[in-house]
């Protein structure tokens, strides 16, 4: 049964992420009074990009070509460490949450290097912004994971998001709630969504993440887009389990888990529909705010 669930989760990890983007876009279009693109449009876009050839500037090196591949591989590996719906992850060991965070970091590092490799002023600017904000988002993520570790008394992601989590809500509810809010803010920042970044803008000077990948095309761009949707799925999975995690039976917890991930996508879409972007100088304040929330959560647990 556990093996079956693990296989199901791996299949979901690989297949579902683009659907989340479709849900986000559909939510936004409903708010805007438009029909919007089909839910499965992101899959079609990926298929289109994979069929295309790629153009490489003569000024770039292998670093530029390695960026998308390393980025996707790192995010997908991080997915192997993540427990979904309360079942243990495919790969789990004490302290694996550090590897999880740094696999995400590696993906960002590869993307930023590829951006710098182009030598374009835009991409350098985007890389600078991305790593600046990441240096603020990373501590916040670690603090949230620490809260989970402390609340559940385990040091692996499978334990933190495993069967001990529902019980922890009883003893450490307020702390987990604060951590969940912080994770949501971090998820918006890490996935370059409004209010931190605008994934739909065409204005290079305001972009953070998008401007780093302007020079990628074809399959490389498909890897990047797919990797980005995987990352969104990972954060959705953490939040879904954190907020909706109830331990009554495998089927119920699975159903709740996938419902939660869907709700996460809708939530992201709602935030994007009712909020304007922050000025870039205000983004660090938001991320520091997320860190402060998780510090409070930790203080609540440690007192």
């Amino acid at each position: 049964m556990l093996l079956l669930r693990t296989v199901l989760h791996l299949a979901a990890l690989l297949a579902l992420p683009p659907l989340l983007l479709g849900v986000v876009n559909r939510t936004k279009s409903i708010f805007a009074g438009r029909v919007g693109p089909p839910l499965l449009q992101p899959y079609l876009d990926l298929a289109k990009l994979l069929r295309k050839g790629a153009v490489y500037s003569r000024t770039t090196t292998w670093v530029f070509r390695a960026g998308p591949i390393v980025g996707l591989a790192a995010v997908a590996s991080a997915g192997l460490l993540l427990s979904m719906g309360g079942a243990p992850a495919a790969l789990s060991f004490a302290g694996d949450f550090v590897l999880f965070a740094y696999l995400l970091g590696l993906a960002r590092f590869a993307t930023a290097l590829a951006a710098l490799d182009t030598g374009s002023a835009f991409e350098g600017m985007g890389a600078a912004r991305e790593v600046t904000f990441a240096s603020l988002a990373e501590p916040a993520l670690f603090l949230c994971l620490l809260v989970l570790a402390r609340a559940t008394g385990t040091l692996s992601l499978s334990g933190m998001l495993g069967p001990a989590l529902p019980g922890a809500w009883g003893s450490a509810g307020p702390a987990l709630l604060l951590a969940a809010i912080a994770v949501f803010v971090i998820a918006l920042a890490e996935n370059s969504r409004i209010p931190v970044d605008d994934p739909n803008t065409h204005l290079e000077l305001t972009m953070i993440h998008e401007v780093m990948v302007l020079d990628h095309g074809g399959p490389d761009l498909a890897f990047i887009l797919y990797g980005a949707s995987l990352k969104l799925f990972l954060f959705g999975a953490i939040l879904s389990r954190l907020v909706l995690g109830r331990g009554d039976g495998a089927l119920a917890s699975e159903a709740l888990f996938f419902l939660g991930v869907l709700c996460f996508a809708v939530g992201v879409g709602v935030v994007e529909s009712v909020m304007a972007r922050l000025r870039i100088v205000r983004v660090p304040q938001l991320l520091v705010g997320a860190s402060v929330l998780s510090v409070f959560a930790l203080v609540l647990l440690l007192r």
């Binding site: 805007a32 209010p195 739909n200 803008t201 000077l205 909020m275 304007a276």
Partner: protein, 515 residues
């Protein structure tokens, strides 16, 4: 020009006073020696006057400069001229608002303004007569826009970002060069000229069958504004004001153009800050105003409505009522969509304090239109130099005082409110009578300044006829001509990530600048 321009007798007055849309004898414009000309202009500007236009035309192998000074509170214009050759002391050294005009003169006629603080080509147009290049370029005809030494900042961690001339969106070409320290902008240099078509020379020798269409396409989103300035100039030269009904319909078209653009701009601003609801509503509502214009004349941008002597399409009473109702309804929806925008705390946090232009800067640069009014500069041609229907019906002028993106957005909402009320009330009470009178021949040897408040601000056309009553010189000044520098100043010490938003809040015309 013909006539002995250099034969100047002493005159009682230093200036020839006129007003918006009054044809005067071109030879009656006093011609002063350069130093006297400069002193009079500087004195007038120091006394609260404004340089509405400064242009040249060839005369006796030299260049006859004519300045149009505007006294906004009194609604008067004043003209004076001087003859220059080769070089003259620049006005821009004292009056920053003259910088564009003097660069234009240097480019068109090879007249070098000595002491100009920013003597660079304006739009990289070939000179209008064979001259020695004022910028020291080897061949002024071979230049491409942006081929000149850029202003550069040097130092540790200073970097340069170049944007354009080809942009990510479907917009006009222009080159922007930022000197930055991290995210902070030290300086923004804007290079235009990619859209230069030579509108002024094309209009000269006319009017002919192309002229009106040319005037309407000076700036595609200001067809009615530029078209109106042109037909108004011709009517003044012919001495035939249009019938009252035509005046009212022209006013309606001008305000519909303002409404469509202001509503579209509010939507675009919402799109730039990622605020979806207003972005999509206003994008759709803009079309309502364009469609109303189409019902007026058959074209969504108002092309083909205006004709010298009146308007080409008259409206039946029922049609006018229907359009009035439609505009009222569309404005009601627009106001609600904009309300959503302005009431959202995240939007206000994004707009307030971004890209502020002080009142002093706005006055020094001679900004016009909503950009000037957002900085507290109370100036509007519809009131100050009233023309057509606006001599009889007053549209209240709206100002703000913060000069930031918020103020420029807010001004658009308030102006839209006044314009929608004006359009509806005019359509419901159209004057009786014909909508078009025949236009007679143009008066020979005359000069007229024709100003219109387009949706971006003051449009000034100056027409000069020769002895045969043909257009010998036609000068066009689009509001963007002054306002581009306002954008550069709005970015100074700002954030480079705020540029797209600031740019949208000005929403200037590339074609109108480049002519």
């Amino acid at each position: 020009m013909t006539g002995p321009i250099h034969d100047v007798r002493p005159r009682a007055s230093d200036l020839l006073e006129t007003w918006n849309g009054e044809a005067v004898d071109a030879r009656a414009v006093p011609v002063h020696p350069v130093s006297r000309f400069r002193a009079i202009v500087l004195e007038a500007l120091a006394g609260g006057g404004r340089l509405a236009a400064l242009f040249g035309r060839p005369a006796e192998g030299r260049v006859l400069l004519t300045a149009v000074l505007a006294d906004d509170p009194e609604g008067r214009l004043a003209l004076l001229s001087t003859l220059v050759d080769g070089a003259y002391p620049a006005l821009s050294a004292e009056v920053p608002a003259a910088q564009g005009f003097e660069r234009e003169l240097a480019e068109q006629y090879g007249v070098r303004p000595e002491g100009h603080p920013w003597l660079k080509p304006l739009r990289f147009e070939p000179p209008l007569r064979p001259v020695r290049d004022a910028f020291g370029r080897r061949d002024p005809r071979a230049t491409i826009p942006g081929e000149y030494p850029f202003f550069a900042v040097e130092g540790e961690e200073v970097h340069e970002v170049a944007v354009g001339p080809v942009h990510a969106g479907i917009i006009e070409p222009g080159h922007f060069r930022f000197q930055c320290h991290g995210e902070q902008v030290f300086h923004l240099e804007i290079v235009l000229g990619y859209q230069h078509r030579g509108v002024e020379p094309l209009l000269q020798g006319g009017p002919d069958r192309r002229s009106l269409a040319l005037a309407e396409s000076i700036a595609g989103d200001t067809s009615v504004g530029h078209g109106l300035a042109y037909v108004k100039a011709l009517e003044s030269l012919a001495g035939r004001p249009p019938p009252a009904r035509a005046m009212a319909l022209r006013g309606v078209a001008l305000e519909l153009e303002r409404l469509a653009n202001h509503v579209g701009d509010l939507g675009a601003l919402a799109g730039d800050v990622g605020f979806l609801p207003t972005a999509s509503y206003c994008g759709a509502l803009r079309a309502e105003f364009l469609n109303a214009t189409a019902e007026l004349c058959g074209n969504r941008f108002g092309r083909g409505l205006l004709v010298p002597g009146g308007v080409r399409h008259d409206l039946g009473a029922a049609e006018a009522q229907a359009i009035a109702a439609r505009v009222r309804g569309a404005w009601e929806k627009s106001r609600r969509a904009a309300g959503l925008f302005f009431e959202s705390p995240s939007v206000r946090a994004r707009l307030e304090g971004t890209g502020a232009v002080s009142r002093e800067t706005a006055l020094a640069l001679g900004l016009v239109g909503p950009a000037a009014r957002a900085s507290g500069v109370d100036r509007d041609v519809r009131r100050d130099h009233a023309f057509g229907i606006f001599r009889f019906v007053h549209v209240p002028v709206v100002t703000a005082d913060t000069g930031d993106v918020f103020a420029r957005a807010w001004i658009r909402l308030l102006e839209g409110e006044r314009s929608a009320a004006f359009v509806a009330s005019q359509l419901e009470n159209l004057p009786e009578g014909g909508a078009r009178d025949p236009l007679g021949p143009l008066a020979p040897g005359s000069l007229v300044v024709s100003m219109v408040e387009g949706w971006r601000g003051e449009i000034a056309h100056v027409a000069v006829t020769d002895e045969a009553g043909r257009l010998a010189r036609y000068k066009v000044k689009d509001p963007s001509f002054h306002n581009w520098f306002g954008l550069a100043m709005a970015l100074r010490d700002g954030q480079i990530s705020d540029f797209p938003l600031c740019n949208k809040s000005f929403n200037l015309s590339y074609a109108g600048h480049d002519l």
